[in-house]
Symmetry: D2
Subunit: 407 residues, 4 copies
């Protein structure tokens, strides 16, 4: 396996020979060209570019510069790729660096990013997860260990000019409905901290001012944070520009459906081994708008679940109309309340939901007015029996630990 993108983790993202960018723009030059059928390795920094440390303070999380993110490796061109093609990407492997056997999970503070449950957990918190081969465990979250389902949180092809304009337009329209909101409704282009790969000078400045931020998933894939895109999976990406321009990053050792802590999975540096090929004209042939995925035959087989339900009645008892977001929030809150009965803090419980291979299912979306969502927690990841019993819960969690706080 040839290493196509080789990084130096001791350097900053902008010192990596132009191999990294953190905005989406059609003019980004390809940093390498490959042929259909090629297999190659791409190294990636963690999504923050090294801002977060393996320590017991959440100061770095509190102070993280979210303008910088996400640092992506690429874009990589595929010979013969043209708009309208499907770029077929086999994720052959996802790996960690031998001297970097750890990752982080965090809750952003409400003032700096927030997250799914930011009303309940408004302060910065951090947990460090250690890797032992296929397993992850944390000194900040005891009594739980699970097989990782390593995947790229972010991967996709460069947008065309038209698509970029559409993204910027629709997101600006949304922001305009409540421009002062904290957290913000969306993140507009922002040249501050932009890293534009191998674009130079004025071209780089201009592109930085209009380049789409990498936070949301969009038609090209991007930051879809689908935990199931693990080693062995396959993706069919729409191609929008000549050569395609595939970029990737934001590697996760493990994540639960929804990535609900926002910083959100077990975030890590690492590498992807991928193979690319093309289906010419595939976008039209198959009626593709968003990427299409195939799951991997090699995924954790945990199959005994506690399933928590939520409906679209919010924490204040207000009825929402078929709102799956509200329903899933309730399911998560229900799970957190349950886990606390065994001795976890709320933050620890939330961290488990964000990092472990929990599933979030859209169980019902038609039974007016309540959407119904379920959160599935694999019971085998705990080293004690997490099931209900006649005797009630015992305080089985080893006391004395918690997520790190900011000082």
């Amino acid at each position: 396996m040839k290493t196509l993108v080789k990084l130096d983790l001791d350097k900053k993202p902008w010192e990596q020979d132009g191999q990294i960018h953190n905005r989406w723009h059609p003019d980004l030059p390809m940093i390498a060209m490959v042929k259909p059928g090629d297999e190659f390795r791409v190294e990636c920094m963690d999504w923050t570019g090294g801002q977060i440390g393996n320590n017991d303070s959440a100061n770095d999380i509190r102070d993280v510069d979210l303008q910088q993110v996400h640092y992506l490796s690429g874009p990589i061109g595929v010979e013969g790729a043209e708009p309208g093609d499907l770029m077929v990407v086999d994720i052959l492997d996802v790996g960690t660096f031998e001297d970097s056997q750890w990752g982080f999970n965090a809750l952003f503070s409400r003032e700096n990013g927030g997250g799914f449950l930011t009303d309940h957990f408004p302060e910065a918190r951090k947990s460090i997860w250690d890797f032992s081969g296929i397993y992850a465990s944390s000194r900040h979250v005891p009594n739980v260990k699970f097989a990782g389902i390593m995947h790229p949180g972010l991967i996709g092809c460069l947008p065309s000019r038209e698509m970029l304009d559409e993204w910027n337009k629709r997101e600006a329209d949304l922001i305009a409905t409540d421009p002062e909101r904290v957290p913000a409704l969306a993140l507009p282009p922002n040249a501050q901290s932009a890293v534009m790969g191998r674009l130079k000078g004025d071209e780089a400045s201009k592109a930085a001012q209009e380049g789409a931020r990498t936070v949301p998933p969009r038609e090209h894939g991007g930051n879809c944070d689908i935990k199931d895109l693990t080693k062995g999976s396959k993706i069919y990406f729409p191609v929008y520009v000549k050569d395609g321009g595939l970029s990737m990053g934001d590697l996760h050792f493990s994540q639960g459906d929804g990535e609900i802590t926002f910083c959100g999975a077990i975030e890590m540096a690492g590498y992807l081994d991928i193979k690319v090929s093309l289906i010419k004209g595939g976008v039209k042939k198959y009626g593709i708008k968003n990427p299409l995925f195939k799951n991997s035959p090699l995924t954790p087989t945990y199959n005994d679940f506690l399933m928590f339900e939520g409906i679209s009645v919010d924490e204040q008892g207000k009825q929402h109309y078929l709102d799956v977001h509200v329903a899933y929030r309730q399911a998560c809150l229900n799970a957190i309340e349950y886990l606390k009965k065994f001795g976890y803090t709320g933050e620890q419980a939330l961290s488990i939901l964000g990092t472990a291979p929990v599933q979030g299912h859209i169980s019902g979306v038609v039974d007016i007015p309540n959407a119904c969502a379920t959160l599935w927690i694999p019971t085998d990841i705990f080293d004690f029996d997490i099931n209900p019993s006649v005797d009630g819960p015992l305080q089985l969690v080893t006391p004395g630990s918690d997520l790190s706080k900011a000082s």
Copy 2:
């Protein structure tokens, strides 16, 4: 296994000796008492109480009286159950009646119920599904066959007076925000077509006027339509009234996550074999608000999926804020478009999403402004290769069939 609730399917729901009701109300008398540890059989009508026929016309779907639904068997009391307990329900088996080896799936017309994709599919449509042991297939949807994951769409305990009042209050508040909407935002209590079990006279009339409709899932469970509550699963229900009062119905031979066609699964008459027990004081002990579930060790093992993605940008290109409902709708529309390329009509494709064991995952809910949902279709349910290929899709669906229409 003792048959606790025995029905005569040739009779109407209101002719079943008071064993059926279709509203939730704390005053409904128990139709039978059991002891903790008891195992017993409960027969159930299909949710419409027999309004839909095994034929090739959707007239019955177009004209269905939705005031009648859902017809539930119960309530069944458990000796010793008190408010605050958890009623543990083991679903030991779900079965069909030997002389009723079929079910129906339908799209309601926009004017009578609508559904998740009613803007795209506004007319009444029906497909009939035949059962062959564990498998279902349909003369209206060719080239697809799957193992059913039989389950009750609707099951739960009677609400207390306080809970009922809360339900009615919050749903009325929602309706008041747009009372003329078609389809309605929610369904208020309505004495028309109410069947109140063994309540008599004035008590029945009064309860009918305030009894909660059975359509939405609520804190007690109810119409949660969770496909995974199949034979072998276990549920922990909160108890709100003395004796608990467990009712159930709306049996499904199979259903996809979301039940997106609204009428919505493969609907059928059948029976449940269940076992009940109690965790005294379990609601507080475990911090339970909504029911808690355990999945079954016996479920279809389909594990090769095509995964369609949707983000919260709607069909008109408008950006929504982390709206999973919009995202899942896009994922479904993407899947329908894909399936059409192989020769299915849109209605057939939709019917597959509603009936087959497809999964709907909440993949990302934090990457502002886009929620990301994925729809997973098992590839092995088709009798042809549904995967993308370099050659593009072949028209492999046997031509000449479609869902039934109303005349």
Copy 3:
């Protein structure tokens, strides 16, 4: 589903209108004809034809008449089936009779059949297993419950005259090597207790004297006791005589790989729903000698196993050459010894291995001189933690029960 073979369980096997036979012979008349594509139900007695009772004595096991077995329903003819075809049999469903929710498992006495571990467990023993929907449990074997994987132990087509002769010849040759052995090496044709279906008079007598016993699996399938032929599976049987002549019986609610207790699974009466079709000339086209199977998509998903190993060194320390039989016996003995540490009797442990969905793997057959076999026990079937721990095993099995003995 049409019931093609309807039995009266209150009558003897030979009083069932000729629908039952217990010997394999090419001259057995078809009891019914079906067309390719037909789906139908076949009722079956338990393999002993009702000799064993739901009680707490093993006298019936000790005294069972093994000349009678196995009682099979059939043969059923398929129109157009000819020698050299493959008969495709879809096992659509396997079910129990509503008023017969129990089965038995037993150890035969050494003098009457014996079994895999008869040197260690030479006496007759019996356990009764009660069915609760998909689950089985036993008053004779506490603290264990599992989802059944219902299947026919015995199914296949009638042999041709040539094949019958070959069977009788080769088995007679084996018997001749040690004709007095107890238990016997094989069971020769024996007219005593033979039930020859609808053959009459001299024809019946002659066929009884040469008909093959049903005990062993042979080229046509027969008593293969493959637990995975459960509802949803598919079998391709070689056809040897005109119309095929499919017979079946020996239904099991559950069984472990190897059926090591001999009487051997959870034995029961019940029914099979099957569909038949043909691949004309399929035997040659696909080079088929023994039947070919496809597993079901609906099987228990237990996936956390304790795996016991055995090698081909026997209980006396003698080295055998790549003998998987010896190796598997050691793996079973190792598992029994382990389970005893938690409080089970040896007989109870053996009964678990015979009835639960344990897997027996041929792990190594080339590393001279030791074969290596592994026995996989699903840990989730126990209601306590069966894994090793630093503290050593606790006596967690409820005391006071054991398998029934003969008086």
Copy 4:
């Protein structure tokens, strides 16, 4: 993860600073000591120590020196380990070397090792398998690709003097029954090519003359070739000598149950990440004779199988008594015959059975006189439809390739 055993793959096994041995003997000095709870990496050569090349000739297979094998890394001591303890080994990871992304599978010639089907395939043959992340494929066996289930073929603790004597005695007794047999019944101690780790001088010579060969699995584990001991699994090994002395090697990228080609899996160099701990006195506490295993939660989820059956009637039609070895051989031969119908050569088909994650089940061992074994081939590893159909098999295998031969 600390690398405890670091090798130089460009050097010979006996040039690795005494870290490698190829005989079992109690006097082998520990090459390193670890504490209970430690996690560390152990590098391993391929089992032949580099005798086989990535090329298209089977000369190296024909001429391989089997006296040399297997080259093991270790023994590693665990502080506090004493005879009678259980050494708990977590296999945290199994990996390949970045610059060695290939492995080999081979048939030994009858004159030099032979194998399970040596009567049918008596000549030396070789296939090379290339690794692409989690997948393996071969230029010598087209149209098949599968996720590897990487594992050590050989791992275990040093025997005590008493155990070594017992091994040598019982194997010598077996050899004495047919000392001239080709292939041999067992392999006696042989000082030729023995590598004795850090033993020196006379001690080394003496130990070489009595050290047990590494070929068979024995009570301590050893060459058990259980494919399921993959990353994420756990093993409980009996300890026989002070400090335990854990050695390991013979890494496989993938293997089918039985390792039927003898050289037998996809053989490779690589590393193991393991964690060790102790259960003091565990051998007696749990009644352990052979090692006990727990499977991994991360294994290929292939679940659609073609299942081939074999019974204990051999290729000449001779009836054997409950001989699982004969039965499994028939199942394998049946599978090979089937695969040939699609265009594979017999050798290619055999290679698939040896390398892919096929399962070998002991399905019946009591139905005298026939044992019944089944071989399960996952259908999803082929890039064409391998199932039977009405039309018969198409020649779908790309023509023009075969295993390498010796010149």
